[in-house]
């Protein structure tokens, strides 16, 4: 049976979602990580997950991106070849192939997503080689092309990211992630550790590149301004549960849940 087709209202939308999550839950012992999480994500859509620290948003992202194992629920994904799979029940090898070939993950700390003692160019090229690229010149050309796109001087191709600034490292991590043209990208506080001056450029860059690659994106952030600029849709989490979801501007301009109202009214104005 077509699991994805059953998961959205008929007649409203001819295209099926890329990802359909149902009843996802994670406990750490008796402590709740998240529960009853359900949503659809369509091609090209950016979904923001907001909430304060401890609300379960990173737990949810980690469950979705297969970094930790959920206890219950379905993660239904439509593969590039059209096949529909429940990611949680796939054999390990298939999971790894999808992670390598169709999904991408941008860590909050670029040091977790990069190999710091391998050149910038190799950090990008490595992902291509994992996908089967073998032609050295082609790989190197692609790598320098991507460095330029994330505004890193191509002359730095052979330098180690260890010696890059935090902002450059984050841009390199984004290039490394997007080079394989992933269909689904997870980002955990992508502008988290960066100076405000660097954040703005990076946000614009992420938005442009995600558009260009046509990827769907799930972004965790505690910064509502970042969410407003990047996300089409928002999910607000509190104590492990989704308390409100909707179009980003609806949630931020006309919040209904008491917790969302508190979040929105707590933002400092500059």
């Amino acid at each position: 049976m077509n699991v994805l087709a059953a998961s959205f209202a008929p007649g409203l939308d001819p295209d099926p979602p890329l990802l359909a999550v149902r009843g996802l839950a994670k406990h750490y012992g008796t402590t709740l990580g998240c529960r009853d999480v359900a949503f659809d994500l369509w091609p090209g859509e950016v979904l923001g997950i907001v909430g304060e620290s401890g609300s379960g948003k990173t737990t949810l992202l980690n469950c979705l991106s297969a970094q930790i194992e959920a206890d219950a629920g379905e993660i239904l994904y439509r593969c590039r070849d059209g096949e529909e799979v429940d990611f949680r029940t796939l054999p390990e090898a298939r999971k790894r192939a999808l992670l390598r070939g169709e999904w991408g993950l941008v860590h909050q700390n670029p040091r977790d997503g990069l190999r710091l003692r391998v050149s910038a160019g190799a950090n990008i090229g490595e992902r291509l080689m994992a996908q089967g690229a073998r032609h050295y010149g082609g790989i190197r050309g692609e790598a320098t092309g991507w460095l330029t796109r994330v505004e890193i001087d191509a002359a730095r191709t052979d330098d180690l990211p260890l010696h890059f600034s935090g902002g450059m490292q984050q841009r390199l991590q984004i290039a490394r992630t997007l080079v394989t043209q992933p269909r689904l990208v997870f980002m955990d506080e992508p502008t988290g550790g960066l100076d405000v001056s660097v954040q703005a450029r990076l946000l614009d860059l992420i938005r442009g590149l995600v558009d260009e690659v046509g990827a769907s994106c799930i972004v965790v952030t505690h910064d509502l301004a970042v969410a407003r600029l990047l996300a089409h849709r928002l999910m607000v989490m509190k104590a492990g549960c989704v308390v409100e979801q909707g179009l980003t501007d609806q949630v931020l301009d006309d919040p209904h849940h008491p917790y969302t109202q508190l979040l929105v009214s707590s933002v400092l104005q500059v």
Partner: protein, 231 residues
Amino acid sequence: MTVMLSAQNLAKTYTLHTQGGTRIPVFRGLSLEVSAGECVVLHGPSGAGKSTLLRAMYANILPDEGEIRVRHAGRMVDILAANSRTVLQVRRQTLGYVSQFLRVIPRVPTLDVVAEPLIRRGEDRAAAREAAAALLARLNIPPRLWSLAPATFSGGEQQRVNIARGLIAPTPILLLDEPTASLDAANRAVVTSLISEAKAAGAAIVGIFHDDETRAAVTDRLFDLSTAKAA
């Protein structure tokens, strides 16, 4: 005349949970229809719910009751009941909205800020920038500012950049929230003629205008919220 937007039986009450659950009723049983080629101006004292109604028509604020149907791609779509993707599609193609304030990514050049809605529609980047330049020139934003980000511009300049961004990709329905609030007479006149041109091209327009001159120039019909609402 073709009805482009039909709001029926709208009711909205804000509940402020962070302030002791205070309830602020805005309107009830409110209905309004707007046809192609006409400009309806929302009227009423401050607090009457003009902005709430206008933003509801953009599905930015969700009323508690009622429906707002807009003519999108040849059929009427209730934007309050439609899913997020449909609402975004309706906004991109059918519903234009010019707010009072410019809200953009910092450090993006003005020309790109204005060209973006066209590019998102699939227009060629160079053509979109050309159209942006023409509109900015018409709104008296000097070319030396085009490559700068608008954050440091004056209030009036920012508002004109916002208008350019809001009007560059023509839509069959146009919602205007005080687009002339901080403009001088010459620039108000430019905006007035842009609105008249959109109207002549068949756009259905709903607006809030506080300056009498602009209002007089563009209004076909006043919609008075103080008599229409029964909250």
